[in-house]
């Protein structure tokens, strides 16, 4: 440990206190499993971090150093400003941005640990410091690009270079070589650090540019995990047990969310990491084959007036999609739901796990529009109730309810769990147009002759017209 750091707390005491803080954080996460207690859980975790910072400042006798307060003050100001200003639809890029900053901080801490600041210069701390630099830099650049794509500053389309995979492998191999050379002191420290940072940036860049818009929930979850891992490994490098514990927790959380997202989209993590989007091109060339029989063998009945359906409906399920969020129609949708409730119907929302641009995004958008959270249901909770519901209202969703996912083998959505909207007797679809969704597979529901009413156009306008239609008709 560095001479300048007079330790005022014994190592044992610090370990015990750190363990206590880590337990507080774990308890906070435990409280996050229920809406009623989640606020307390979050506050508790924040409190634990604050205590951790104070503890470290006392432990390393940092309290008299004025620059620390200045930096903390600036960081707090920017952080608070961001937290207050960000819109709910921008949440994915906000998280990506913050993620990237965490990665950057871990990278810098790792860099200092390499030259012995805060570390003991053993082989163990050397290696972990180098890994921290690499993962931190990868998280930083990767998150920044993801944020840029989500914010539409960078083109959302996946960019695949020639030999993309080889370039990634090459960057990784070179990194390993640099690390090995550095261990045997064949490279100077400044050169090692520079090379590592450059390679990590290159790797992060190659890693993220080929991930497309709709795969972003997975990319963000993964980067979230990486930011935790980067923190944990920089903790290994400087021998700080609190960093290691909390970084590990964050890493696990990101990994779990990544798994959930992959399952919900029926994609393997490796396919996304390797940028496999070739299937998409094939399927969009011949969309006709994806038709399922429901469109052909049913007799065409005279279309009922949608107002009659609305007035007779007792059980209504609303399926919101990302299109609703893009049109900013959630407040209007809430008004429609209120009107339907006034007419005596029970209204519930069915939320597909990948509705939105990050895990759970749709719930936040609806909560913002004052929808009660006890009306929000996960896919599995409502999926067998579409059959008995009187009406399903789809707003800006396509792939997540495309019945082709059950039948159309070889398409990107085949096997993806979907909402059983097609089993409902009456379906109102408020989509912008009838084009295939992100997956590029035609939706046979659009061709269903009975029970499907299409309200095409900007959801804000179509919902407004719909609302005034059902309000005036009693």
């Amino acid at each position: 440990m560095n001479d300048f750091l007079a330790l005022t707390i014994s190592a044992n005491a610090y370990y015990i206190l750190s363990a206590g803080l880590a337990l507080i954080v774990l308890f906070g996460i435990f409280l996050m499993s229920k809406v009623e207690t989640a606020k307390t859980g979050n506050a508790l975790s924040g409190f634990a971090v604050l205590l951790g910072v104070l503890l470290s400042m006392v432990r390393y006798d940092l309290l008299p150093i004025w620059t620390i307060y200045l930096c903390l003050f600036i960081g707090t100001g920017i952080g608070a400003w961001l937290a207050v200003k960000v819109q709910m639809i921008q949440m994915p890029q906000m998280i990506a941005l913050l993620n990237g900053l965490g990665g950057l901080a871990s990278m810098i801490v790792g860099g200092f640990a390499m030259v012995g600041v805060g570390s003991d210069l053993t082989v163990f701390s050397q290696i972990t410091a180098m890994i921290a630099v690499f993962i931190g830099g990868w998280t930083f650049i990767g998150s920044m690009i993801a944020a840029g794509k989500l914010h539409r500053v960078i083109n959302q389309k996946p960019i695949v270079l020639q030999g993309h995979r080889m370039l990634l492998n090459l960057a990784l191999a070179l990194t390993v070589i640099v690390v090995v050379f550095a261990i045997f002191r064949l490279l100077t420290l400044p050169l090692t650090l520079t090379l590592l940072i450059l390679l990590s940036f290159l790797f992060g860049l190659l890693f993220t540019i080929r991930i497309g818009g709709a795969d972003m929930p997975i990319a963000i979850s993964l980067l979230n995990s990486l930011s935790g891992v980067a923190g944990a490994i920089s903790g290994l490098a400087i021998g700080d047990v609190l960093l290691v514990a909390i970084g590990g927790i964050v890493g696990a959380s990101g990994l779990l969310l990544t798994q959930i997202m992959c399952r919900a989209m029926n994609r393997s993590l490796w396919d996304i990491l390797l940028g496999k989007t070739t299937q998409k091109a094939v399927s969009s060339e011949k969309p006709a084959e994806t038709k399922t029989p429901i469109a052909t063998d049913e007799p065409v009945l005279p279309q009922k007036d949608f107002r009659d359906i609305v007035n007779g409906a007792k059980e209504i399920i609303i399926v919101p999609g990302y299109g609703m969020a893009v049109a900013q129609a959630q407040h209007l949708l809430k008004q429609v739901a209120d009107c339907l409730k006034k007419k005596g119907a029970r209204v519930r929302y069915a939320i597909h796990p990948v509705a939105g641009r990050m895990p759970g995004h749709m719930n936040v958008l609806l909560a913002e529009a004052n929808v009660d959270y006890d009306e929000l249901f996960e896919m599995d909770d409502l999926n067998d109730q579409f059959r008995s519901a009187d009406l399903t209202i789809v707003v800006g969703a396509n792939d997540v309810l495309n019945p082709a996912a059950r039948a159309a083998e070889g398409t990107p959505i085949y096997g993806m769990p979907i909402l059983n909207v097609d089993q409902c007797e009456n379906i109102f679809i408020f989509n912008y147009d009838l084009k295939p969704g992100y997956a590029g597979v035609n939706n046979p529901l659009y061709e269903k002759k009975n029970g499907v009413h299409l309200f095409l156009g900007n959801a804000k306008e179509t919902l407004q017209t719909f609302l005034s239609d059902i309000q005036t008709d009693h």
């Binding site: 971090v49 930096c71 961001l82 935790g228 923190g231 960093l243 970084g247 590990g248 936040v364």
Partner: protein, 101 residues
Amino acid sequence: MTWLHGILLIVFAVSTVAGYLLIRNVPSLLHTPLMSGMNALSGITLIGALVALAVTFRNQAILSALFAAVAVIVATVNVIGGFGVTHRMLMMFRKKEDRHE
């Protein structure tokens, strides 16, 4: 490897498993706030940044201190922004009984 390193690795493994088991119980309803909360936690690397800033500042290594200062600032943004936005989101989740309209 010393005993300290061994302990650190064990802590890493245990906290990862414990975190994984606890987070599995969080409903998808709360996945966005969960993620932003976890994100804020990853800013705990702030502790490392503070130590680096203190050492470089006392050594009067200006350039290094500048880098450390950047690390402290961005880690603080990560922590404050993350917890702040998580709180903001959780405040929006309400049931009918909770509303006084």
